[in-house]
Structures are given as C-alpha cells and as structure tokens.
C-alpha cells in the first residue's frame, strides 16, 4: 500500500473514533438534559402508568448505556431508529431534508468563495489603501451582524418592500437567494481575511520577487504565482467549513422556513427526540470527517511540499 493509501486508511480509522466520540458526547448531553421526551410529548391527562408504558416502548426505561449501545447496534445495521415524536424513521426524515440543507449550504459556500476570494486578493494588492480599509470595515460589519437580523432585513427589503424574492419556504431556486445570502454574508469575513493574509504572505516570498525581477506581468504574477499558492489554505478551509455551515444554517432555516436538517435538529433538541438528534449529529460527524480528509488530500495534491509523514 502506498504512503497515501496508508495515510487515508489511518485517517479513516481515526474518523471512526471521532464519530463514536461525537455520538457518545451528544448522547451524554441529551441524557443530562432535564426532563424527558415522553413528558414533553404527552398531555397532563395521560396517566403515569401510560407514561411508563410509553417510556418502556421507546426503551427509555433502560439504563443510558444500554440505550446507547442499542442505538449504536442499530446504526451499524443501517437503522437510524424511529423518531419518538413523529413516529417516522429518522433515515426517512434526514433523507427528505438533507438535499435542501445541502442546496442551501452549497449555494452559501459558492457565494462566499466567489465574493470573498477576489475581494481578499484585491484588499491585499491595495494593502493599507482606501480599498483595503473599506473592504475590511465592510467585512467586520458583516461578521458582526446576527444572522436572524440580517435575514429579517433581507425579507423586509427584498421580499416585502420590493417583491424580488419569496419571503419564505422553498419554491424553486429563486427562493434560495435570500437564505443563501443570509448564510453566506456573515461568513465572508473569514475567507476574506484568510485570502488577504495568505496573499500578503506569499507576496513577500522570494520567488514572487524573482518573478517581478524577471519582468513577468503583474497580472500573471498575481494569478500564477501568488494566488495559486495563497489559495491552498483557503481551499482546505472550504472543506472544513462545509459541516459547520450545515449546523450554522439552523437559524437561517428557521427565519426562512427552509425545510432543511437544521430545523429538524432544532426541533429534535427542543423535544429531546434522541433518535433524531443522534441521527443528524451522526451524519454531520461523518461529513466532518470526510471533509477533513478531503481537505488534507487536496492540500497534499496542491502543495507537493506537504508530505504524508
């Protein structure tokens, strides 16, 4: 097996451990939460005997460790379990909503990189000039904006005052614009700052000076020498950001009534629907591991200096 093959295998094994740890932590947090899903679900007029029967039906009367391993055993067989509140299979619920979340986060990431990378480059080239300072201030302002507030602002301006886009729900790609912008804009600053600092670092490298000294055109130096190298960490960040964006879309999905996993996770936590919360965090943990691995592989491909060992 090649070094790269061994590396991927080792990372995958580590990934399995990471996913296991995440599920244990989430399970522990859910167990530590006061109350229980049955009491949240049923009305006062349900007798204590019936409540006990329901707890037994859902296995909630068993010790937490038994509950966890029961869930884990099912997961390994591909059974995500059944939601306590909706009585639907968790896999079915995730399958219904995952495409919408991926659509939203995908669009947000595309917007982020299409806007932030060129602006980061521009700010670096115009370092300490008006353009750099203006863009930095704008990014800080965007970074400071609470997502729900930005969402409300967009709805008021672009869906109510000017009916460019639908207010909420999914009704085609047009309805994706406002939630995707709301999710993307506050995160622009991170990519912008990273791109700017990486470009500035690379611009001070000797090979850039050499390129200029050899009379290579500015544009060519910037694109072929500076940007190409500066984008390596930016590209890795792209993969690391994906799972975070899925979790970060909870608020946006709520404001825009977007039918994604964020809403499902939020409701699962509020109702202590343990199978839903475990199922979604399991999916996010796997996505995180995979994206991390892809990020590492891509950085290795982009920069031959990065060695496996």
């Amino acid at each position: 097996m090649s070094d790269m093959g061994k590396y991927i295998l080792r990372r995958l094994l580590t990934g399995v451990l990471v996913v296991l740890c995440v599920t244990i932590i989430i399970f522990g947090i859910m167990q530590a939460m006061p109350g229980n899903p049955i009491d949240l679900m049923v009305d006062t007029r349900v007798s204590p005997e019936k409540v006990a029967e329901l707890k037994a039906r859902w296995g909630l009367d068993k010790p937490p460790v038994v509950q966890y391993f029961y869930w884990l055993g099912n997961i390994l067989r591909g059974d995500f379990g059944t939601s306590i509140t909706t009585k639907q299979e968790v896999f079915f619920l995730i399958k219904q909503r995952l495409p919408y979340t991926l659509m939203l986060t995908g669009a947000a990431v595309v917007i982020e990189y299409l806007v932030a990378v060129p602006l980061g480059l521009l700010a670096a080239v115009r370092k300490e000039k008006l353009m750099d300072k203006s863009l930095t201030i704008i990014m800080v302002v965007l970074w400071s904006m609470p997502t729900f507030w930005l969402g409300v602002l967009f709805i008021m301006e672009f869906a109510i005052n000017n009916r460019f886009f639908p207010i909420s729900g999914y009704s085609g790609l047009k309805s994706l614009v406002l939630p995707a912008l709301t999710l993307a804009l506050p995160s622009l600053a991170q990519i912008f700052r990273l791109t700017r600092s990486e470009v500035l670092d690379v611009m001070e490298e000797r090979y850039v000076e050499t390129a200029y000294a050899k009379g290579v055109a500015d544009k060519s130096v910037l694109i072929r020498h500076v940007l190409r190298n500066a984008l390596i960490p930016v590209t890795v960040t792209f993969f690391l950001n994906l799972p975070w964006l899925i979790g970060g879309s909870v608020v946006v999905e709520n404001v825009f009534a977007w039918p994604g996993m964020g809403q499902l996770l939020w409701k699962g936590i509020a109702k202590q629907d343990f199978p839903i919360v475990q199922g979604i965090t399991f999916v996010i943990a796997i996505l995180t591991v995979i994206c991390n691995l892809i990020g590492d592989i891509v950085s290795g491909i982009l920069d031959p200096r990065i060695r496996v060992e």
């Binding site: 006061p34 949240l40 006062t44 007798s47 639907q88 869906a159 909420s168 790609l173 404001v255």
Partner: protein, 527 residues
C-alpha cells in the same frame, strides 16, 4: 476597475439565480394552475403526524382531516351531532349510541359504517396515548349497519371531551392495516373534510377536498363538501416571517399570531382577527407538605399577594386573569363561581401581610424579607421557560411577592422538567398549566391520577363526583363544589388563561373559530 468587475460578477450571479428561479409560491386564496381553488394557511409548528391515533398533540391540520361523531356547541353547553346523525345516552349512563348517516364514506370512497367506526375506536383504544380518555368503554357493539353502541362501565360524561375533539375522528382501519404505522401517519384515510395529498417534510402539507364528506354539525351552514378544493398548510416557525407572509398576501390565514403583532393586525383594514382563549389555566402549584409553604397561612398570603390585573397589563393583555381553575373556554365553567372566587381570593397585600404576621412571619431585621425563627421566607419559584406568558409573568410575580416581604427566586426550566420536579415532590412553588376543553382535566391535575404526590380525599371525591355527573347543570354545580374544596387547601393559585389570535385576509369569509379555539372551515369561501 477590478473591483467593479467583481461587483458585476456578483450581480451577475444574483441575476442568474433569479432568472433560473422556480417562480413565486402558489398565489393564496386563488386558483392553482389547474383552476382549482387554493387556500393557504400558515402555522408555527409542523405536525408530528397526521394519524390522530398516533400523535400526542393536534392542530388545525388534523381538524381538517377528521370529523368527530359529535361536537360541543360553540358555548360548550351542549353535545351536538357532527359525523353522526344523532346520538342517545342511556338514562342510567350505561351506554351511548350513535346513528351514522346513510352512505357515510371515508375520503377514499370506502364505506364508513358502524363496523368501520368500531374498528377505528378499537384501534384508538389499542394505540393512542389518550386511550385513557375512554377508560369507561367496556365494549363497542355494532347494533346495525348504521348504529354503534359504546357500552360503558358507568356514567362517563368526561368522555365527551375526547369524543367531541379531533381525537374522536374516524380512521379507515382497513387501509391502515395494509401499511405500516409510519406510512399511515403520513397519509391516513379519514372521515374529515380534507385528506392528505402530499406532505413535504419541514415545509408544507397539501390537503385535498374530500368529495364524500358530509356533516350534521348544526353550527355550520354548509354541511356538504367544502368550497376550497385545496388547502396548503405551511409550517413557518418564525413569528416575523409568518406575519409578513399574511401581510404580503402570500397566505390567507395564520395561526399562532405572536402577541406583539396582535394589535397591529387588528388595526390592519385588510385583515380580520379572531380571538379565543386557553381552554384551561396557568397556575402556581404550591408545596403543601414541607418547607415554608407547608403552612396553609403562607399559601393563603401568597394567594392574596398576586395582582392578576397587573400581570395582565404587564403582558399587554395577552392573558385574562382567572381566579378559579376552569376557564370560560372549558365545559364545566361557571361565571358565578369565577366571580365569587375573584372576590374571595382577590389581590389584597395588606391582608396578605396580616396573614403572614398572624402565622409568625415578620420582618425582624429590617431587610425587607419576613422571617420566622431566624429563617427568611424565601423559596425557589420554578417557571416553565417554554410557556411565553408564564415566563413573562415570572418577574411580575417576584415583585408582587417581594411587596409583602417574600423572597421568591426565579428558576426557569423546560416545562417537562418542572413537571418532573413536581412529580418528584422536589419543589416549593412551580408554574404549571393545562389545556383541555373539559373541566375533567382537573381530575388529572389535582388528584393522584396525575402522578403528583398530592391527594386530599375531599378534593379527589369532589372531582370524581363531578366527572361522572351526566346532567349538565348538575355537573357545573359539582365542579363549583370541587373548586371550593380545592381552594380551601390553597394548593394552587390560578393565574390566567392565555388569549390567542388567528388572523385572515378580509376576503376569506365564513371561518368560524370558537371561544375554545376550534376551527370550522365548512363555510369558508374566498372573495
């Protein structure tokens, strides 16, 4: 120049997204592409499921899918036919008999005869969390094709609350048996005015008109199929977004109008608002066996320390003060008893202070908190954080208690945890609430049937006597007595009933919202 190029690129991306958009949501209150009339409703929470026998709470979606055999009259004083043509109660309360209309059918065209209703009720008894509501049913008997009899173990008028609610709707069990529970929960075959056509998880549920539907509900003019062919119920959790959709005309009706928006919507000439009350009350449950509130005089003083009018004002009128334990949106309510309790248990801080002094609680060290034997009158007040009105009332209550020298420290927890702490007897004062259209809920709240470790024989006896009284007037009187027995114990302090609001566009006519929050869409038409 580069900057402008990039700006143009961003703008181009936005335009591209706009251009390839799938179009606006379907216009509400209008016709869809096929010329069918569409009514759009927005609610806060997505339904757990559509099968009324598998779920723990219901809302307007299920009320559009199911027709109970009978209904309460709008003022809750009378049981009236709905899906059933008529009903009879045995003199001795040993059975209830329902006669179904000829040619009654489910939404898929299957016959809904007595055998089908029996199968549905038996399924309810087998799988519903609320099967206990029908605990007096000994067996269900098919008398003939159209007549079904519920043989009872004894008089059980408390069953009406369940039978008249959406939980009293009928499922087509023959269809349910052909699929797994989860699938039937998504798309049940029922007897109500609409059926589920499509459920987009997390987004909306599309209901289609049941062409076989008919009702005998005397409160509606249209007893046949509904005017709207399609109803789309959208799930919009955010309050601002939900209200914005209504104001923009994208939806026709919204439920769960946020309290902050009620007055604004009421003042909007394009909209109509409907108000209704909580079918129950929010209250403070008091520890009677241990700690500072074990002394009945302390509980009495706390009762008189609360100014409910001030609470209602602080909450911008979104609650109505209550003094008894049955709200006017519940069967069994007595206005006279409410009036009597208001004067008996009303706000009187001076009386509260004197009762405390009588019990030996005085402020000996001048710190503003009364004390006795060196112990200050201080306790934790558990507040349910998931009940907006109770959460908002917490600080007001704290101030009012402080005014008579009582230190109540607010502890906010999820309602289910507060419930657990009360069941574990680990509390001094805990906020609770109940919602059910019948006063029988008090039996589950203030007797051991609740699982709470509190049982006073005279209180339990009074509630048991009230719940099995068949005669309506005598039943109201029995609940008056039961409330007196409860109040004598100063076990709980009734606070308020929430006021709710539904809003619709003005062109939507014929929507009927009863005082207890039931929605009847039979007469709804669009302009």
């Amino acid at each position: 120049m580069k900057f402008y190029r990039m700006a143009a690129l961003g703008l181009g991306l936005s335009l591209a997204l706009t251009a390839c958009g799938g179009g606006e949501p379907k216009p509400s209150g209008a016709a869809d592409g096929a010329g069918n009339s569409v009514l759009t409703i927005a609610i806060q929470d997505e339904v757990e499921g559509c099968d009324i026998q598998q779920i723990g709470w219901e809302n307007v979606v299920q009320s559009l899918l199911y027709e109970p055999l009978v209904v309460f009259s709008p003022d809750l004083s009378e049981i009236q036919p709905a899906f059933a043509e008529s009903y009879t109660v045995a003199e001795d309360g040993s059975y209830i008999e329902f006669v179904l209309p000829a040619d009654a059918k489910f939404s898929n065209g299957d016959v809904c005869d007595a055998a089908a209703v029996k199968a549905s009720e038996e399924r309810f008894l087998a799988i519903s969390e609320y099967a206990g509501d029908l605990d007096a049913v000994a067996d269900i008997e098919v008398v003939d094709e159209r007549t079904i009899r519920y043989n009872l173990t004894g008089p059980a008028p408390y069953m009406w609350a369940s039978l008249t609610s959406t939980y009293g709707g009928i499922n087509n069990v023959a269809v349910a048996e052909t699929m797994d529970d989860a699938a039937f929960n998504r798309k049940p075959v029922t007897n109500g005015p609409y059926y589920v056509e499509e459920w987009l998880q997390g987004s909306q549920i599309t209901l289609k008109r049941n062409e076989y539907y008919k009702t005998n509900n005397p409160n509606v003019s249209n007893q046949g199929v509904c005017a709207y062919e399609t109803i789309v119920v959208r799930f919009i959790p955010d309050e601002f977004t939900r209200v914005s959709e209504l104001k923009s005309g994208n939806v026709d009706i919204i439920y769960d109008v946020p309290t902050a928006s009620i007055s604004e919507l009421e003042g909007n000439p394009d909209l109509t608002t409907y108000r209704y009350k909580q079918a129950g009350v929010s209250y403070m449950n008091l520890q009677t066996e241990k700690g500072v509130t074990a002394d009945v005089k302390v509980r009495q003083a706390l009762t008189h320390a609360i100014n409910k009018e001030e609470i209602a004002a602080a909450l911008d009128g979104v609650v109505t003060p209550t003094y008894g334990f049955i709200s006017e949106a519940q069967a069994g309510y007595s206005a006279a008893k409410e009036q009597e309790l208001a004067s008996k248990l009303g706000y009187d801080p001076e009386l509260a202070k004197s009762i405390l002094a009588e019990a030996g609680w005085t402020d000996t060290n001048g710190d503003g908190i009364v004390d006795k034997d060196g112990q200050p009158l201080s306790f934790e007040m558990l507040i349910s954080s998931d009940r907006a009105s109770l959460k908002a009332a917490g600080p007001v209550l704290q101030n009012q208690f402080a005014a008579i020298g009582v230190d109540a420290q607010i502890r906010e927890y999820e309602g289910s945890y507060v419930k657990q702490l009360v069941r574990d007897d680990d509390y001094t004062m805990a906020s609770r609430n109940y919602v059910w259209n019948d006063a029988d809920i008090l039996y589950y709240v203030f007797t051991e049937a609740s699982g709470y470790p509190w049982d006073v024989a005279e209180v339990t006896d009074a509630f048991v006597a009230a719940r099995v009284e068949n005669d309506t007037a005598k039943r109201v009187a029995a609940y008056e007595v039961a409330q007196d027995r409860l109040v004598e114990q100063y076990k709980a302090i009734s606070l308020f009933a929430d006021n709710y609001c539904v809003a619709s566009k003005n062109n939507i006519k014929g929507l009927m919202i009863t005082n207890d929050g039931r929605s009847w869409y039979n007469d709804v038409t669009g302009g």
